[in-house]
Amino acid sequence: MIKIVRILLILVTIFTMAFYLPSTYRKAVEKRPMKTMIYYSEVSNDFVIARETGDSLDTQAAMRYYTPAGTQLTEEEYMRLLPFNNRRKLKLMGNMPDSLHGVALTTDVLKNVKRSMLLAPRSSEYHLYPLFESAPERLGVSLPDDLFRFTGDGIEFVDCKTGDILAEKSARFRSAMAACGFTAPARDVYGIPSVLKRWDSGYFVVDVTGGLYHLMMVKGVPFCRKIDTDIAIKNMKCHTDEEVFAHIFDTQNRLYVLTTDYTIKPLETDVCNGRFFMTSNCFARTYKTSEADSSIMYVFSPDFEPLGRYAEVVDHYSHTDEAKWEQRIFPFSVMKTPGYAHFIPLFNAPAMFWLTNLLCAILWVGLKVYHRRRLTRPENIADFVVVLLAGVYGLMAVLLYPNRK
């Protein structure tokens, strides 16, 4: 019995160390990576690259600006090339152009810059949403008294105060959705369940057959429209935008855009890691993504025609000597995914850590020989295997909980 308890102790200790030691090591040795940023200039219709040449936290003017051809730009040239990013400084310097490509750069045009993070995996969902009035008498969005959910029978409205089901309203919306061809229950519901938006565009509902529907409440009346598509939808990021309802990720992490005229356009991006940072203004739309060792930007015209792609190698912890030493010291690590709090084991390549594990095993054998213990006892053989497999963690755990007769 006591041997089983000891094994449990060792396993619990290895798990805990695998969770804390690699992250502690990283916090102790990690250096701030040099920043590399890619921009798209609406002025030159070309990319602008900003690279950090020293630690900009300590050194003044450590950023250097380049064109894709490698020509260095002065800070003023860089700012002139990016009037949307440097609006305030250019105005203060008196260098703000009045117009660009024949379009007057009014305050409305300059402020109409949208930024959004597009992620393929869904964040946490509570499956309870407010259905806002999409054509309110007063400007803005106001909170309804009820929330809706989808059950096997269809949509269902719940009164927030009493928790009662609003039968009449539920039946009205159910019949409107059924008339569109909606088949309950809903597989997914996408929208912006917040009053902090300029107007409401309703929700996009994927039914059990995979069909996509647009659901709104217009002057208290249900509005439902089927959107023709054969995309296997994984996630949608909705926007409050005059031209775009939402960005769609399919199950292969390919990106599409759903425009307000109900057209779905695929965006030609060759990296499908499901993470994009989007910015748009009236001249261009950019989608930036990161691979393990590079940052990539795709540029599209306002009507989503591809204009260009640029990739730049970036500085990352995984390329450093410290990261290689981490892989040499620790055979594996356990981490929690941010937010979801899953425990996930991350195994390093055995070619990296085999020497450390072997050294730990030799050290363990040396200690046993020094204390004149018999190595052929079954519990000692088991300890040896644990040290050989779990390396540093295993050695610390078997020393922490020693084997006694």
Binding site: R6, S124, Y126, L128, L143, R149, C160, A341, F343
Partner: protein, 227 residues
């Protein structure tokens, strides 16, 4: 069976005061949590408060006061059960009771775990009842999944207290206590949304189960007279 019941009675005499007091504090905290919720619903309106619980960024974690209550009960039970006997070295007398030492240690631990389970069931039931009375299932289910990890932490805390208390070597006592605290931190990460920890609850439950017989390790060392 009878000697075990006698042992349970002996343990009950040691722990009853701290157990009952800490449980009452826990019950008070649960009622206080929902008193605040009802107050907010009255002041801001049920729809606004429910929306803030669901979609504020970060969402309102109205049950955050509950976080350390189960572990507080476990610490009270563990400390009152083991510390006086160990500090005054009366634990050796217990080992002379007409009961196999392993069964004796397991019975002592079983009693502590039973008390913690009773406290957890009472607190969780109260929390469940009030929670379901005020919120729809779409909120209550993720909230309860998150809170479950805190109730599991109580078992880990108790098991490590028992293990540390019985360890005869002071240095090892410190090592066990530190290991226990480090392990417990896995149960108390930030709650960025309702339902956080839900995915890791099976692993956390497995860890809690794995810590249950740990006391036997230091009990065995204590019994052997290790230094």
């Amino acid at each position: 069976m009878k000697p075990i019941l006698h042992l349970f009675y002996k343990e009950w005499i040691k722990t009853r005061l701290s157990f009952i007091c800490s449980l009452l504090v826990g019950i008070g905290v649960v009622f206080y949590i929902f008193m605040i919720v009802e107050n907010k619903m009255t002041l801001t309106g049920a729809k606004t408060y429910t929306m803030n619980v669901l979609y504020s960024n970060p969402p309102i974690i109205y049950y955050s006061l509950l976080r350390y209550i189960p572990i507080l009960i476990a610490i009270c039970v563990g400390v009152s059960q083991y510390m006086p006997e160990v500090v005054q070295k009366r634990i050796r007398l217990t080992l002379h009771l007409p009961l196999d030492n392993r069964r004796l240690f397991l019975s002592m631990e079983l009693f502590g775990l039973l008390l913690i389970t009773v406290a957890n069931v009472v607190l969780f039931s109260l929390f469940y009842w009030k929670n379901h009375a005020l919120f729809p299932a779409e909120i209550t289910h993720p909230v309860e999944a998150t809170a479950l990890a805190w109730f599991l932490a109580a078992y880990v805390a108790y098991n490590y207290i028992a293990m540390t208390a019985l360890e005869p070597n002071r240095v090892r006592q410190v090592v066990y206590a530190v290991t226990g605290v480090v392990l417990l931190t896995l149960y108390f990460h930030e709650v960025p949304f309702h339902g956080a920890y839900a995915a890791s609850t099976p692993v956390l439950a497995l860890l809690a189960v794995a810590t249950c017989p740990l006391m036997l390790f230091s009990g065995f060392r204590f019994n052997k007279g290790e230094r």
